[in-house]
């Protein structure tokens, strides 16, 4: 384990930022496009997801910058970095799922979205984003191990720097959970999307 700390933190925070940006963008997609929703009849899920293009663009810029950071530390990334965009996909899936639920709930109760986003932001402190998972506090350690976000952040980072997947089973379960969340989000969205327009 010999990742320079700045690199560790840079990757961790950019993955965390990807999750938060996906959630907020998708969650605000409906409210931000209320003008279009009220006046035209177009699929609402599309409007909710249009902001993702922006998020992905930022993400790509972040990946390019990541290479610059590697060069700065005179390190060569592990070939596993080629899988980096793919293994970070579950983060986007999870973000879209949570975002879609917040989007429809947010049209009825406007304040729910920012509150939920702030609370989710707190999860960063039980996810190894800026610190290592090997903590001495046993309670915190147990929470981090039980937290699926741990694996979603750790796996792309370890793969890019060291070329290893720390816990394949943990990553697999976390991915599964992300896909379930995505399904719940889409399902919930389609269930109540007819009621969305009149709330905007």
């Amino acid at each position: 384990m010999s990742i320079p700390y700045p690199l560790f933190v840079y990757i961790g925070t950019s993955l965390w930022a990807l999750l938060m940006a996906t959630i907020t963008t998708v969650a605000n997609g409906l409210i931000g496009n209320s003008d279009l929703i009220i006046r035209t009849n177009i699929p609402k899920i599309g409007l909710s997801l249009t902001g993702l293009a922006n998020v992905l663009y930022n993400y790509i810029v972040g990946v390019v910058l990541l290479l610059v950071v590697f060069a700065f530390f005179r390190l060569s990334p592990h070939p596993g970095i080629l899988l980096y965009p793919i293994v970070s996909l579950p983060i986007i899936a999870l973000g879209v799922g949570v975002g879609l639920v917040l989007a429809v709930v947010g049209t009825v109760a406007r304040d729910v979205t920012p509150i939920a986003v702030s609370i989710l932001g707190l999860l960063m402190y039980v996810t190894p984003v800026v610190f290592n998972a090997d903590l001495s506090n046993p309670v915190l350690r147990r929470i981090i191990i039980a937290n699926p976000l741990t694996y979603l952040v750790d796996t792309p980072r370890s793969l890019a720097t060291l070329g290893v997947i720390p816990s394949p089973i943990g990553y697999f379960l976390a991915t599964l959970l992300s896909l379930v969340m995505l399904w719940i989000g889409i399902h919930a969205f389609y269930l109540v999307q007819d009621k969305v327009a009149e709330r905007l």
């Binding site: 003008d35 279009l36 009220i38 006046r39 035209t40 327009a197 009149e198």
Partner: protein
């Protein structure tokens, strides 16, 4: 659905919550119920909800056009949004055959940073056109919207007229099967409005069904075969365009009277409150609203009586004759008295005057006591609308009036069944006249001679 129909609305209803809190609570409850797989019954009103649209049914054939009129808040826009598929009806259902284009507000869905041309493609996509279809239409759209040199300007720099022109051009030239329009043409200039009407009529001939929501009787009359007049979410009148324009005019007249009364009451209440606060002792409270006496004469009663049965009326038919009755109290001997009734229309003051001396009555002397005047109208040429009456009592030798009573009565004159008075909403008097037409020159060539 029959094959010649393009739109069927079947007992369509939509409700809204009155307060934000209530609708938030119901919204969250309904949403939780839906998430958990329960069915939410929407056809009953819960406490704090009201029907914005209630039980509206109609059919529209291909190439037919329907006008919807109603005062503000009557449910027109909600109905249009349901037809456009934006709101889901809470009860009933809507069937539409073909592609719908909606012009609900000018420039809906225009991205401000993009140019007009780019927005045409985006808007075309929103209307269900492919890029190739828009490619084929773009020149026509630019020409129709008269935006030639501005088409590559970002639309945030467009004027509101340019917005409407572009929006209309896209919607109209995409040749939809159903076109929904909500009061959008009023923004364009006269030339463009005329072009729009020509375009709408030619679309109609080609089989497009049109629904037009407007406050302008002229547009409804020009475009629509049939119409709905809505009030508080209900369809009150469904009939010819002329019928609904009449119903709309009558409703407007009634509302004018009502809001006038309400405003006066609120105004009196505020002024009165101010006086009590400021100078409780020194000013006498004004008695009976606007009623005033300057010099020994007080107007007590003013009534508009039906000629037929003598009952007091507040709404009469066009050309109907009425009697006006004025009761005054005289407290001191007053010489050379005349009584004057001044009528205000809703837009103009003092449009008519009935003065007793002008009409041949000058009272030499009134002794103290109570007097009743009756003014019998010989003709009534007032156009449909709302009118307010003011009364003054005057003495020849006193420069000012002896008594003045503003807004002592209001009356609504209903639209006639046999005439269609659409031409000028600001006109107040209708003089019956006979029009005739005779040819003077036989053919067009002789015009140039």
């Amino acid at each position: 659905m029959r094959s010649d129909l393009s739109l069927v609305a079947h007992h369509v209803s939509k409700k809204f919550g009155l307060t934000l809190k209530q609708s938030l609570r119901y919204g969250l409850r309904d949403m939780a119920k839906t998430f958990l797989g329960g069915r939410v019954s929407t056809d009953q009103l819960r406490q704090g909800e009201f029907w914005a649209v209630r039980d509206v049914s109609f059919q529209l054939e291909r190439g037919e056009s329907l006008g919807i009129m109603g005062v503000n808040g009557s449910g027109k826009s909600t109905l249009l949004r349901m037809l456009n598929g934006v709101y889901a009806p809470d009860a009933g259902h809507i069937q539409i055959r073909g592609r719908v284009a909606a012009l609900i507000a000018a420039g809906a869905g225009f991205a401000p940073m993009l140019s007009g041309r780019e927005n045409v493609y985006i808007n075309g996509a929103l209307l269900g056109l492919t890029k190739r279809q828009v490619d084929a239409l773009i020149d026509e759209i630019i020409a129709f919207s008269e935006l030639e040199e501005f088409i590559d300007l970002p639309v945030r720099n467009y004027s509101s007229g340019m917005f409407v022109r572009l929006g209309f051009a896209i919607a109209a030239l995409s040749r939809p099967d159903v076109l929904l329009m909500d009061e959008v043409l009023a923004v364009g200039d006269l030339n463009f409005q005329k072009k729009c009407f020509d375009c709408i009529l030619s679309m109609k001939k080609q089989g497009t069904s049109i629904i037009l929501v407007s406050h302008s009787p002229g547009s409804i009359w020009a475009v629509c075969d049939r119409g709905l007049f809505m009030d508080h979410g209900h369809v009150v009148v469904a009939g010819t365009a002329e019928d609904i324009v009449r119903a709309y005019d009558d409703q407007n007249s009634r509302n004018a009277v009502e809001s006038n009364l309400r405003f006066s009451a609120a105004h009196t209440a505020t002024t009165h409150a101010d006086i009590t606060l400021m100078e409780k002792e020194s000013l006498p409270a004004p008695s009976r609203g606007q009623l005033q006496s300057v010099d020994g004469v007080v107007c007590r009663e003013f009534r508009i009586l039906s000629r037929q049965n003598g009952a007091e009326v507040c709404e009469i038919d066009f050309h109907e004759l009425v009697d006006l009755q004025l009761v005054i109290d005289v407290y001191q001997v007053t010489k050379n008295v005349s009584v004057r009734v001044v009528i205000d229309a809703s837009h103009y003051k003092n449009i008519l005057v009935l003065d007793s001396y002008e009409q041949g009555l000058m009272i030499d002397e009134l002794l103290p006591g109570r007097y009743s005047f009756k003014i019998s109208l010989q003709a009534n040429y007032l156009r449909p609308g709302a009118y307010t009456f003011n009364v003054t009592v005057i003495s020849k030798h006193v420069a000012a009036h002896l008594s003045l009573w503003l807004k002592c009565a209001t009356i609504v004159i209903r639209t006639p069944r046999d005439l269609f008075l659409y031409a000028e909403p600001l006109a107040v008097v209708h003089l019956p006249a006979t029009f005739s037409c005779q040819p003077l020159l036989a053919d067009q060539r002789s015009l140039h001679a």
